[in-house]
């Protein structure tokens, strides 16, 4: 079983998911109470406008044929038109994408920088004081609203100590790096409890392995043992854990972008909700799902590339 067929099998699994995801997003219009066209248009719901929307979405056709119409449009790259911005949803999403990708990558990097050392500290002496302190982090962290944490960080690092801007995306690479630090830190701190938990567990498993006992009996000093043997083998689970939680991370960015006024896809979604701009909300929801699926696939492929054992899997 080679790597290519592993990737091929993963791609095959995506087919039913693609149909499922598009169906859920398509079906959202039918969850709107009352006549969807009239509700969406709100005060602009003249009989003519309602009739046009009915025709455009094929609302008077059978459900499956409506879905087919939806898929056909999608395949032509048509995510619908914004009622508020007067632009296509796809061009709106594209122009809002860079800040979101910045946030995801930056937060991913920061969460590794936070979680790996803490997990190492905890795992280096199981059930010691350090371990208990680190294990208390998820207990507090899991119940913390991310937007609340954002306010706390703004209060301390942007208002009291004016080290970082309160909001915005900044300009230029270093401008982004500085402006996006607090938002990314918020997302990373929200994600860390989960990552620390899984990493600590996988490091403990590695520490129990026979090659560690061998290394110990050869007299390899503690720090070297950790850096050369444990960390290396714990990086692979770290990638996997990040991959599994990518959906959580992306969901958090929606909230964080709104708090820090970052012009990303998440803020586009929340603003469109306030404008009752249904086609954009629908399109953005689909884009987020596609993002999760692709990043998961990427994490799986990274896993296959990092761990030679995947080849012999199954």
């Amino acid at each position: 079983m080679g790597r290519m067929s592993f990737v091929g099998r993963r791609l095959l699994q995506l087919i039913p998911v693609a149909f499922g995801v598009t169906f859920i997003v398509f079906f959202m219009v039918h969850l709107i109470p009352g006549d969807p066209a009239a509700s969406i248009l709100g005060i602009h719901a003249t009989p003519r406008a309602v009739a046009i929307l009915h025709h455009e979405w094929g609302l008077n056709r059978p459900l499956l044929s409506q879905y087919w119409l939806f898929l056909d449009r999608l395949l032509h790259g048509n995510l619908g038109y914004s009622l508020y911005y007067g632009q296509s949803t796809s061009s709106l999403v594209l122009s809002h994408l860079p800040p979101t990708l910045w946030l995801i990558v930056y937060a991913g990097v920061l969460s590794v920088l936070i979680s790996v050392p803490l997990a190492m500290i905890a795992a280096s002496r199981q059930d010691g004081v350090r371990d208990h302190v680190v294990r208390a982090v998820p207990l507090v962290g899991l119940g913390m609203p991310s937007f609340w944490l954002a306010f706390l960080l703004i209060l301390v690092f942007a208002i009291k100590v004016q080290a970082f801007p309160v909001s915005g995306y900044g300009s230029g690479f270093f401008g982004h790096l500085r402006s996006m630090f607090l938002p990314s830190l918020t997302a990373a701190l929200a994600l860390s409890p989960v990552v620390i938990r899984s990493l600590r567990a996988s490091m403990l498993t590695v520490l129990g392995a026979e090659y560690i006992t061998t290394a110990r009996s050869k007299g390899v000093p503690g720090h070297r043992l950790f850096l050369r043997h444990v960390l290396r083998n714990a990086v692979i689970p770290a990638v996997t854990v990040l991959g599994i939680n990518i959906g959580f991370l992306i969901g958090t960015t929606v909230i964080i972008e709104e708090v820090f006024a970052i012009p990303g896809v998440g803020q586009l979604m929340i603003n469109s909700i306030f404008q009752r701009d249904f086609p954009v909300v629908q399109g953005v929801t689909l884009v987020f799902a596609v993002m999760v699926v692709l990043l998961n696939l990427l994490a799986d492929m990274a896993y296959a590339a990092l761990d030679p054992r995947v080849r012999f899997d199954r």
């Binding site: 998911v17 959580f248 929606v254 699926v293």
Partner: protein, 298 residues
Amino acid sequence: MSTVSLPAGTGPVPGAPAAPARAQRRAARRWYRQPALMAGIIITGLIIIAAAAAPLLTSYNPIAQNLNASLAGPSAHHLLGTDQLGRDTWTRLLYGLRVDLRIAFIAVLFPFVLGTILGSLAGYFGGWVDVVVMRLVDTVVAFPFYVLVIALVFVLGPGERSIYIAITVVGWVSYARIVRGEILVAKRQDYVLAAQAGGLSSARIMGRHLLPNVISQAFIYGMSDIVQDILAIVTLGYFGLGVPPPTADLGSMINDGQNFLSTHWQLTTIPGLAVIVVGLGLSLIGDGLADLLRTGSA
């Protein structure tokens, strides 16, 4: 637990029913010695009591405005001060907890039941049932949690009913995965094979024999799921998609307070701290129960 089947008539079988029962009794005697579990029960209990007894713990009305006393600091009259409309923060905190906890505890039931049923069917029958359920799971997990919850509540219209529907649609998948995994292991055990050989119906085997043995993992997950649901409710409240105003809700309290962050930071921080404490209590209960089950079945 032993999976070796002994031939009949070779003495007392070290069978499945006796061992877990003894372990359960042992665990039941010992639960109060688990510090995490005890701490969790005390924290959660105190908060639930405080929320339930809100009318006794404060003499103010959570939605009564008093513009003469807006943005007051903590005092004997107003323990935690007042907000921009002169509403008592301590009162709104208690009533907000009451609303959010009630919704969260109700909301967690639907995905628990739905996920457990679908997960058991998938795990027990396998085949096309399993394929259909697991592809549904794959589809739902493709959406980021908050994105789907926010989008669903948006299309359904803000309010309690929409929150229940959204949380159910998104939340059942974790229970289905957990229960399916447990059933896949449990259905190979002797007591299930014996029940099948005895000609019991599938429904009876699942309901009476399998579920009681696999439900504890789903229950433990439920504890952390309530925490996630509370966060979702508070987040929806923050975006104005939760319980409609002027009803007190921790999320809308944080939203109201954010405009006064630099001058009256307590308006933002206090409701958030309350959410964290609730989360801490429930997480401790979940962890404690997990420890209890691990040592109990060892």
